[in-house]
Amino acid sequence: MKTAVIQFPGSNCDLDIFHVLKDVLQIETDLVWHTNFKAEDYDGAILPGGFSYGDYLRAGIIAAHSPAIDQVEIMAQEGKPIIGICNGFQILIESELLPGALLSNQTRTFICKWVNIKVETNNTDFTRNISEGTILKIPIAHAEGRYTIDPKGLKDLRENDQIVLRYVDENGNLTKIGNPNGSMDSIAGICNNDRNVFGLMPHPERASEKILSPFSSSDGLKILNRFVHT
């Protein structure tokens, strides 16, 4: 499996995810500048976190018009796995590969903290080997992560089992206190209808080596493992 980490101007988690894929999971991985990215060269792609184009106008909207996104759309149609982390999730939303919107956090602040994330479905490429209901310890770091969608869109997400991850509290319950940014339905990550495009606000690459986590968490690997297997 050959995977690309697509770099946009302003990406800043690109090297972290590259390190985890290449050194921790030992996957053949390239860092690819967004104007050079070709779908045919890769079996999977990652849109990393950061502040592409300075978050101007709306986080993710300018990168969504990059030539790389046309290539990502081709990959998505071919059923190849695509994951967008944080700003990568915002880019997938703004390119309409995933539905809804990510608005400013309800707190009006940038939030950087470890949170509890519940795996709601294992019927995706990325959570296939995780039992439903598993709580993952993974950090978030964003200002615009409040997932919002119209009532019909939310109904569709629920009915099609597209809500992959939810924020929960210490006891694993869906509560206001467990929902850091005010996301609708406590949504932390969703997938598309074909279940091969996945966007999430938490950073699995920051929870991939126990020694780097205050909770000795390497839960992020459970998601990123997807790229090991073809």
């Binding site: 703004e94 919107a101 608005l103 009006r108 919002t148």
Partner: protein
């Protein structure tokens, strides 16, 4: 060709709470003694110069651009377009 000033205002729909507006209402306006102001909704304002033969054409160009490039996210935003004036 004449040039027109066109404004775009992007606002959150009612369904999407606006924490910036809520904070301005509560912690600036109400705290500052203006109790009669009960609600503020923030948005984004873009001012464009558009070359076109007529007002209607300028508006049409901006509307088409806004929709095709997703200048707003139709799931959560409304987008209003106003022709301000013809530039001299």
């Amino acid at each position: 060709m004449p040039s027109f000033n066109v404004e775009i205002i992007i606002e959150n729909k009612k369904m999407a709470r606006d924490p910036e507006g809520e904070t301005i209402t509560r912690d600036l306006i109400n705290r500052g003694g203006f109790q009669s102001i009960t609600n503020v909704r923030t948005g984004k304002y873009l001012k464009l110069s558009v070359k076109a033969e007529k007002k209607e054409e300028a508006e049409h160009i901006v509307r088409e651009m806004s929709n095709s490039l997703r200048i707003y996210n139709p799931v959560v935003h409304t987008c209003s377009i106003r022709i301000k004036s013809e530039e001299l």
